[in-house]
Amino acid sequence: MEIYTIIFLLICLLITLFSSLSERNKRISAEEKNKGLKDLIRQLDDQAKIIIKTDLALNKVQEELDKKITGLYTLHELGKKVSSTFNIEDLFSLINKPLVSKLGFSKALIMLKNEKTGVVSTKIHVGYAESDIKKIEKNINKGGIAAALFKKSGFILVNSDAKKVQHEDVLADIFKTESFLTVPITVKDEAVGFILMGNISSYTKLTEGDAELLSILASQISTAIENSQLYAELFSSHQDLERRVKERTQELAKLNEELKKLNRAKSTFVSAVSHELRTPLTSIKGYASILMAGKLGDVSAAQKERLEKIDTHSNSLTRLINNLLDIARIESGRVQMIIKEISIKEMLDSIVDIITPQIKEKNISLKIDTKTKVDKIKADPSQLERVFLNLLSNAIKFTPEKGKIVIHIEQKNDFIEFIIEDSGMGMPKQDLEKVFEEFFRSDNAQHQGVKGTGLGLSLVKKIIEAHKGKIWVESDLGKGARFAFTIPRP
């Protein structure tokens, strides 16, 4: 019996031993699994930290980029508006709180130095009260602090958490902002002012990217100031020029008036003198005729010859005086053109009748070349006849024997153009401009040999201009002449 008890107890002991070993193994296994899981969780957690840090860094970069893009776009929009104005005040009115906020700042100042006095004053301010501005201006103008702000070379960037050098401390105190950025405004390589932008929040850090943006704005302002100055100079020059032109125009008008007066005086003088000359001339001619007629006794051949010369020269003088009188009358408006519709053919027929003897005498051929079917013109018949007679008689005078004269007629829009062309001696080119001046005679020897008063063409010009036409000449020495004039069509 005891043996069985002992065996039974041994078996129980073995079973207990096996159980506890098994439990121990399970526990060890579970602990190992737990440790493994914990390690895994730790690893995942570490990876999560890496992900978060990476995400944070990416966010920061993206934010900087977004800020820069927004800033650049805002400045671009500002630039478009600025380029359409020459008024610097318009530009300053565009730099307002919304714009400053879009650039990422809460405070802004633009201060410019007066050219003459050197005093720095505020052009725009955002985020400051008026009382603050007065204090800032006083402090800026007081000491040498302005020199740091007006340095051409660069910007001043101060962040709230960064260590400040001495003048940065002073500036932060003056501008009442912990983080700020200043950039000088330069015109023609000289600093004329500065821009300040700042933040009162310590969270927003200023970077060199902000300095770049502000530099762009400073550059826009500089360009606008320069453009505005240039425009002001240009405008002033323009005003000055206008004033001078006005003065000169007034002077010219005055001179013109004087000239007209002189001209009128001349015409009156000529008219008066001509009238005074005609009377004695009439007497001279009259008495010469009486003497030649033998009414006061016989006249010898020699006496008759001299009396005939007196008569001829009196006639010449009379013609000269008549021409002068005609010119004077036309100039003074005392002769009114009696404009009517006349037939070109009929007029030319009449004129050809008059000059036929002179043509035949020199055996000159006369031809009329009509290139238009229009036969009517509007003119004063008697005055136009004088024009033709004058031009044709000149043509005959200056054309040698067996020469050619052609009258060309052509329609030119609302005018009829007449050209008296001859194959005569022509005239030097330098005389063409002066040929219609009163008393002008060419220096050319051949011309000097032909008699004339030098008033005929002047009278012709006056008559044509009174008809609202034009007259001109084309010629060269030895190559004939072409005198052309226009008369209006009906």
């Binding site: 930290k49 978060i52 966010n59 919304p98 906020s101 879009k102």
Partner: protein, 418 residues
């Protein structure tokens, strides 16, 4: 059609007749915006565009969202110059959300001509010091001026130093704990500065505005965030109200120090609000399969994290991370939920409030979030809303309990059907 001129402050039988008669009509919304950098002109242009779209309809209410880049009082003057007579509420916001687009750096005006919806508005200052009692007071005023069939309450409140959970609790004390509350706290950027609210063209800070909508209409609300857990779970070991003092028996800031590799001073310098917007804390609510997100806005002297709302009771706490794809999917989910909760009725219009961290996540191109919503609800549903510092919205769970929370990183979509 029976046309009856009715007084919105008192109930009349005419109201019912009006609702029946005008069943075919719906609330009309005119939306105008301007990005003119002159504040007055921006306000004026936006208001003109919005009111013009209403045609001959009377403008019952103006809701304005003005970017903080503008001079707020001057922009309000611009708005007033056009829409002087209509009641007006609004808030500063970095960007608006409307069916016409999402506009940053803008003045956006929504001019509303209600049809079967009645509204009452109220406001009170002092929310920073007494968020709960001020919110209670506003809700009470709005309630007293409202008609029967109260359906929805929208709040816009200051966020600077404000416990927005208490603002919600205050409203629920008057309206009922299950009463739908939407809206959010004003936000304008990540610097966590003072924000602005507007009431009848006057500029305020430290304000709660309440808009109570009542009438015969149906609403459907959906919300989602799309942020996901990253790293291991942690224990919330010490917290009080809106301050987390300890996590895993260490100062709460240590969590961020560990994961971001920055010390407390660096985190202070960079701004914990901005970092917290991207990496909020997710609190797994007891007995729910959902994480309530909270963004830290400040750090206490002893390394605690100050949140903009109360710390809920939670099983565990995690750092959360967002990505564009999951956030966009969340936007679609919220829109889908809102449609489902509208019981498949056709939406007349909608309100969208989205947390500012989502604006940051989409790289400041919020149009893609708006497009995701429109993909679900349709192109032609008028939408109004803005980016806020947290939204009032229900937690989206399998069993939809209609329990509303103040949440960060979240988008809420509310659809209306008349």
């Amino acid at each position: 059609m029976i046309y009856v001129k009715h007084d919105r402050k008192t109930l009349t039988h005419c109201m019912l007749l009006c609702n029946i008669a005008n069943k075919a009509m719906a609330t009309k919304i005119g939306i105008g915006y301007s990005q003119n950098l002159d504040s007055f002109s921006a306000g004026k242009e936006a208001a003109r565009l919005a009111t013009y779209q209403l045609g001959r309809l009377k403008t019952d209410l103006i809701i304005a969202f003005i970017s903080p880049i503008f001079e707020q009082d001057i922009a309000l003057k611009g708005i007033r110059s056009i829409a002087n007579e209509a009641p007006m509420i609004g808030s500063s916001s970095i960007a608006s959300i409307t069916s016409k687009g999402s506009f940053k750096d803008s003045v956006t005006i929504c001019a509303i001509s209600f049809d079967s919806i009645n509204f009452s508005i109220a406001f009170q200052e002092g929310v920073r010091n007494n968020p709960r009692s001020v919110s209670t007071s506003v809700a009470r005023k709005a309630l007293s001026n409202s008609t029967i069939q109260r359906q929805l309450y929208m709040m816009l409140s200051d966020s600077f130093g404000v416990n927005s959970s208490d603002v919600l609790i205050g409203a629920h004390e008057i309206l009922g704990t299950r009463f739908p509350v939407i809206g959010g706290a004003s936000a304008h950027n990540f610097q966590y500065k003072k924000t602005c609210q507007y009431f009848n063209y006057h500029l305020y800070e430290d304000l709660v505005i309440g808009l109570l909508l009542s009438g015969n209409f149906t609403t459907g609300i959906g919300s989602a965030h799309g942020w996901q857990r990253i790293g291991r779970s942690h224990d919330l070991t010490k917290a009080k109200l809106n301050i987390i003092k300890e996590i895993d028996r260490r100062p709460a800031i240590a969590l961020y120090e560990d994961y971001l590799g920055k010390d407390i001073n660096e985190l202070k310098n960079e701004g914990i609000a901005k970092i917290g917007a991207s990496f909020p804390l997710g609190m797994k609510l007891r007995e729910k399969e959902a994480y309530l997100l909270r963004s830290p806005v400040d750090i206490t002297e002893d390394g605690g994290l100050v949140l903009n709302a109360n710390v809920p009771e939670c099983e565990e706490i995690n750092l959360m991370i967002g990505d564009r794809d999951s956030a966009l999917n969340a936007a679609k989910k919220a829109a889908r939920e809102a449609l489902e909760n509208l019981k498949n009725l056709t939406p007349s219009f909608g309100m969208v409030y989205s947390d500012i961290s989502r604006f940051q996540l989409f790289r400041k191109d919020p149009q893609i979030e708006l497009n995701a919503i429109k993909d679900i609800i349709g192109e032609n549903v008028p939408l109004i809303g803005c980016y806020t510092c947290g939204v009032y919205a229900p937690i989206s769970v399998a069993e939809y309990t209609q329990q509303f929370y103040f949440q960060n990183q979240t988008l809420s979509v509310t659809l209306f059907s008349e």
